[in-house]
Symmetry: D2
Subunit: 165 residues, 4 copies
Amino acid sequence: MSVSSQSQPQLPPTGAITPKTALKATTEQWFEYPIKVQPHHTDYSGAVWHGTYLTWMESARVDYWQSMGIDFAELVKLGCDLPVVELSLRYHQAIRLGQEIIVKTRMNEIAGVRLNFDYRIDSPNAKELYVSGKVTLVAIDLEKGKIMRQLPPAVQDILVKLIQS
Amino acid sequence: MSVSSQSQPQLPPTGAITPKTALKATTEQWFEYPIKVQPHHTDYSGAVWHGTYLTWMESARVDYWQSMGIDFAELVKLGCDLPVVELSLRYHQAIRLGQEIIVKTRMNEIAGVRLNFDYRIDSPNAKELYVSGKVTLVAIDLEKGKIMRQLPPAVQDILVKLIQS
Amino acid sequence: MSVSSQSQPQLPPTGAITPKTALKATTEQWFEYPIKVQPHHTDYSGAVWHGTYLTWMESARVDYWQSMGIDFAELVKLGCDLPVVELSLRYHQAIRLGQEIIVKTRMNEIAGVRLNFDYRIDSPNAKELYVSGKVTLVAIDLEKGKIMRQLPPAVQDILVKLIQS
Amino acid sequence: MSVSSQSQPQLPPTGAITPKTALKATTEQWFEYPIKVQPHHTDYSGAVWHGTYLTWMESARVDYWQSMGIDFAELVKLGCDLPVVELSLRYHQAIRLGQEIIVKTRMNEIAGVRLNFDYRIDSPNAKELYVSGKVTLVAIDLEKGKIMRQLPPAVQDILVKLIQS
């Protein structure tokens, strides 16, 4: 979680920050982030520890931003953070040490300053589904420590183009 | 994720492993696990990284087992694992370096070999809610690499007593 | 690593920041931090992953500060950080899921703004040694992004008393 | 740490497992593993947390094995583990969110079943050194829970060729 305000503002209820009009993705295209399971990803069971997936999902998301031309570290320097405010995951099948998998993500909705991402983790041939999930981010003004009223214009333009492509 | 079979059995759809009768908790009592935020829990924002909560939630759950008389490592040695198969989290408010919080959990349902836990992370005086969530575990037979047909009897007895107390 | 300057100053060579007189500990007393090994501490081998120890060592160190009356988060707010600049570890014996161990630390030297800590991780009866190590911290002025010329006076007083007790 | 024996054999003192003849590397060639710093790599300071480096160093080492034709997960399946028994690190300069760096490693010595690796973490142009370190692994027979008398022949052949190339 990455809300940077010293005063720790309570996030408003979902309804309050979701505008009536939300842009839904018109594409089925996934950004792909390949992983080969390393020792530090696993637990005593020999399979990936259930929390490790969040590191992969974050890396995939940041690289996805980068592929759109948004450098996440630059965004933070400019005073805009994008913390996770909701996530849900279903673990369908274990993934084991040394296995190769593809973390797939796509932005599927822009609802004001809330951004929704879908995730799936598949085998390279896409025949096996290991994990599916959803993550919601919200844009935070780091200086004010508050949720932004609107996305930074440069980001908004890129995201709207992406979601409508 | 901790399914230990070499053959990585696909978990059946939720319906298939949920019996018609589920035991719902009749108590509102929470197990409490206090934390003071350490440097390694945080990220660049100065607040707790969103994936760190899963380590706390797991530790709270294992200590909760222990408080009921179930040693998790012993259970694994006896051939029963309890991997996470579903989780969802809402992040209401950031938690910062050095802050003291209470991770609270309780088992709220036994549905065959599926166990559902509620979570909330509160300030010590319970006036601030930082995170709320749900986690579902399922019992796995480590030797067969399959979901168990029923919980080990000793565990079943303890859990049923707990949920009905 | 926690040097906060935007300009990322190169740390000077060890000699340059070690004054000729260093205060050596006159006590053999250890601060003790007990741990029971959780699933997320382990890897595929069933034993603790070698990097996990650094989280325990950090938590032990921060609680040790606290026991002396130094709140680490307050220190950071006041503009002084204490990043790790050197560490070395020897792993003598594996520690397994569910095992109880004691992380022990003590400050053994103050050399200007460099602080040296010894570590050992033992069984509760102290008959088994699992890990031994050393960590060196250095005091950083967060505003200037530079190594401090001297420790903050309040900290200096506490530490000198401690090391001479 | 990855020693897999249930009986947790005490590792013998260094001398006992170091044969008189050790093969020293005759090459200065480094294996390179590039990283761009992700949010989960950082701590409250905005720089990389000092323990995060161990995950990068492990990933670099496993990919280095792979580049030589040794699949680490296969090695473990065949009953040979290679836990870390010693490590030392010097942190020269902080690395910040979004920064690109190169983790470099090379095996510099085979001393019986002990393998020594050098590490350095550099800027892409190699003008800045962020971290330098050493890691020692030892080969363990997973079935017997003991240090091997000699490396598996296939591994030995590959490593000797590598170190003498």
